[in-house]
């Protein structure tokens, strides 16, 4: 389980293409050649096109190949410097390298003057090279930046879809509920009927909300249905206090947030207490932020034993990050007798 999201995450983080790969090198050569053609087309005088082009190509390949080599070498290090910084570092590295190569070229033409003539002053040639290469490098960096952002958002979105799927009803809950219903079918057919209806509603809510945001009203209703089913199974051991009246019900929240947290609170908390206990859901609005917390009592000797199923929580974290970036927080507060998950996220109102 752990390996897959890690791999996906790594892919999402790799924003610089692999400059050591033959495919990338080929693309760079192609781009260099296109730039050479472009520059020659703009500058050439009639009749000299091919000669000029070959000179220009040579010079550009002379810049492009070492550039690729440097990027290939520093990429692992640059990746670690963070997204934006990596691009800035690459930009300055490439431009300064272009400057140095231009200088070397000038010195070489001094030695092999009979083969290559540059119709420019020393300073003019270096400055021109610097200016052109900054523009080309800046454009390509921008392109790589945008396409990596685009890839990243695709990966993140796919991740959150997977997360939402994983947050779907757990097998444990499903089978236990089925067993409860099988039992009630004989002892209390009316209750069994209601339980089947509730279970169906819950499944539907689960299937509908993959990845989408939903209103608090719907989300709380789903959680309430879930609570009704668990109540049949656990009886008086399960109490839930809803302190959410002051929340704006039209506010949006990533779907499948409260129900899985309630499920966790029951599975890891209430179920392991012989006398049960009370799950408390509190919510309030603080300016333009919504603040929801779900807390449950913990069996005294349980904390040490359960390494815990952190899947639901990490799913919620991921989906909050996708929906709100750094504007949302998902925190856990743990004490000896209580476990509390705290959600803080911006108040958005849906159009629906």
């Amino acid at each position: 389980m752990a390996s897959t999201p890690d791999a996906v995450e790594k892919q999402a983080q790799a924003y610089l293409p692999d400059f050591c790969a033959p495919g990338t090198v080929l693309v760079i050569l192609l781009v260099a050649e296109l730039v050479a053609i472009l520059l020659t087309l703009v500058a050439h005088e009639s009749g000299t096109f091919l000669t000029e082009l070959s000179k220009m190509s040579m010079f550009l390949l002379w810049l492009a190949l070492p550039g690729t080599g440097i990027l290939c070498a520093i990429r692992p290090w640059a990746e670690r410097q963070g997204h934006t910084r990596a691009f800035v570092i690459c930009f300055f590295l490439l431009v300064s390298m272009a400057g140095i190569l231009a200088e070397i070229t000038w010195q070489l033409t001094g030695i092999f003057g009979q083969f290559v003539i540059i119709n420019d002053t020393h300073a003019g040639f270096v400055v021109r090279t610097l200016a052109t290469s900054s523009i080309v490098v800046a454009l390509s960096m921008r392109y790589l930046y945008i396409s990596s952002e685009w890839r990243r958002s695709i990966v993140l979105e796919a991740q959150s879809r997977i997360s939402a799927l994983q947050a779907l009803i757990r097998p444990h809950f499903l089978f236990n509920s089925m067993n409860t219903i099988a039992s009630l079918t004989r002892s209390n057919p009316k209750q069994a009927e209601e339980a089947v209806e509730d279970l169906a509603d819950l499944m539907r809510a689960n299937l509908n909300s993959t990845g989408e945001r939903t209103t608090l009203k719907e989300e709380l209703e789903t959680a309430a249905i879930y609570q009704r089913i668990e109540k049949l199974r656990l009886g008086d051991r399960l109490k839930v206090r809803w302190d959410v009246a002051s929340l704006p019900m039209r506010a949006l929240i990533p779907g499948l947030t409260i129900q899985p947290l309630l499920e966790n609170a029951i599975y890891h908390g209430i179920e392991l207490l012989s006398d049960g206990g009370q799950v408390t859901v509190t919510g309030k609005r603080i300016d333009d932020q919504l603040d929801i917390s779900i807390s449950n009592p913990v069996a005294a000797d349980q904390r040490r034993r359960t390494s815990g199923n952190k899947m639901a929580l990490s799913n919620i974290r991921q989906r909050f990050e996708l929906a709100y970036g750094h504007r949302a927080q998902v925190n856990v507060r743990e004490s000896e007798h209580e476990y509390c998950v705290h959600l803080l996220f911006p108040y958005d109102e849906g159009s629906r």
Partner: protein
């Protein structure tokens, strides 16, 4: 066939009772909502078969089964569970009877017919699976025919003398049937051996002290300071290291 039903969910117990009625196994000698209560009823009623849920408060099914196995005449155990992939793997591998929830009548009937006592090895094997704890939360002392459960949290130390192991806990001193070696292995993260025949709970130790004869003694938080608690020279370094680690 005398049957004991153990499950923390009332509807699940109802369901088992209904199905047992269906298959004509009507001698249900008791119902319990957790492993602790189950052991008390089992000691009194001496069931032939215990239908045992795995996930329960206070004491889970796997640990309950281990204690049941220490009875003079251990009952056969059939586990009931909704979904425990690791445990089920272990049941299959060790021919341990189980039924999945929702329980099917035929499956229950089949399990009852095949119900057999568990072997200690098979139970240990289950505990080795990931997601299943091999550490009991209680020890089981036998007083005549009654089972007395002692929480591991209450244990101060174990001493072996010849044949039996005594457990010294907040509620007194009892004999148990586990060997010192197996206890040391099972609870190695919480206990430390101080000499050939004593293993002490790290949490119960207050400090180490040299007495006038130059021997290192364990002073317990309870203030107890018995000659049983002299650390042998071989173990001094290890005990100090474990205490430092917390």
């Amino acid at each position: 066939m005398r049957i004991l039903i153990v499950d923390d969910e009332p509807p699940a117990r109802d369901r088992l009772r209904q199905l047992l009625n269906d298959v004509g196994a009507q001698d249900i000698v008791g119902e319990a909502g957790n492993g602790h209560d189950a052991l008390n009823i089992a000691a009194r009623e001496k069931p032939d078969v215990v239908l045992l849920d795995i996930r329960m408060p206070v004491m889970d099914g796997i640990e309950t089964a281990r204690h049941l196995n220490q009875m003079t005449v251990p009952p056969a155990v059939i586990f009931t569970t909704a979904y425990d992939e690791y445990a089920i793997e272990a049941f299959d591998a060790n021919a341990i009877g189980y039924v999945l929830k929702p329980v099917r009548r035929e499956r229950l009937e089949q399990a009852l017919n095949q119900a057999a006592r568990l072997t200690g090895d098979a139970l240990l094997e289950i505990g080795r699976r990931p997601g299943v704890s091999n550490q009991r939360r209680h020890l089981c002392a036998r007083l005549h025919e009654q089972l007395k459960l002692i929480s591991i949290d209450d244990v101060q130390y174990f001493v072996a003398d010849q044949k039996y192991v005594s457990v010294i806990h907040n509620g007194g001193r009892d004999l148990i049937e586990d060997s010192l070696k197996s206890l040391e292995e099972e609870f190695d993260n919480r206990f430390v051996r101080i000499h050939r025949s004593a293993v002490v709970a790290l949490a119960a130790i207050d400090t180490l002290k040299k007495d006038e004869d130059g021997r290192t003694r364990v002073i317990l938080r309870s203030g107890e300071n018995d000659d049983e608690l002299i650390v042998s020279r071989r173990h001094v370094a290890d005990v100090k290291r474990r205490l430092k680690k917390g």
